[in-house]
């Protein structure tokens, strides 16, 4: 097995090419912001489908209760994951704000 080499210089020179430059507005596709946006859209989609499932059950279009429950559970789990990510982001932000300059 090849040992993992940690080259600090390489790591730092790579940052602008992958993350884009937020000051010039050139945010690339795989930046953190767009990734967050994409996953938030996915979570929102799950929430919407849970909403639809509940409505279908209430209006009698869907006869199976468990399908509604599954949709609601999926949305709940996805939302919990979102909350965890958000907590971590806030935590990191506060950590940086506490940094003595």
């Amino acid at each position: 097995m090849e040992p993992i080499r940690f080259d600090a210089k390489q790591l730092f020179t790579k940052i602008p090419t992958t993350a884009g430059n937020p000051l010039t507005g050139g945010v690339q596709e795989n930046s953190f912001g767009s990734m967050l946006k994409r996953h938030l859209a996915e979570v929102n989609h799950l929430q919407n489908s849970a909403d639809d499932a509940a409505r279908n059950l209430a209006t009698g279009q869907d006869k199976d209760i468990h399908n509604t429950m599954v949709a609601v559970e999926k949305a709940g789990i996805a939302f919990q994951l979102t909350m965890q990510v958000r907590n971590k982001v806030i935590e990191a932000y506060q950590e940086i704000m506490r940094m003595a300059v």
């Binding site: 199976d64 468990h66 399908n67 599954v70 559970e73 789990i77 965890q84 971590k88």
Partner: protein, 145 residues
Amino acid sequence: MNFFDSMRTSASGLTAQRLRMNLVSSNLANTDTTRTEQGGPYQRKEPVFAATPIQSNFKEVLKAEISSKPSEVNVVEVINDERKPLLKFDPLHPDADPQGFVLKPNINVMEEMVNMLTASRSYEANVTAMSTSKNMVQKALEIGR
């Protein structure tokens, strides 16, 4: 996402067992039915289950073919039990033949009860599997706390 795969699999099991339960209710309700739209007495109905790989697009179908991914259960058809109907002597019955015999569905209530319990327990097992996988994900989320 792997977690949603297992949830979908369990949900398909729930749907299949619900359908089986519906058929059991139908069989139990029609133990004495002598008339049907097709003519003759009611015929016992039974579901046929088939395992199908979880698929929502071509890539997933291909993946399921080359690796052993979980597969969900589907009811592919509902078959009529081809047992001979029972003959009961009841000359006053409007559906009796000239000799006074009535054709009755060959349904064994005990057998239907066993099927019903099996369906109920399978449903419970699927619910347990689903809530366990949900608990696993929630435990995984607790890692970050």
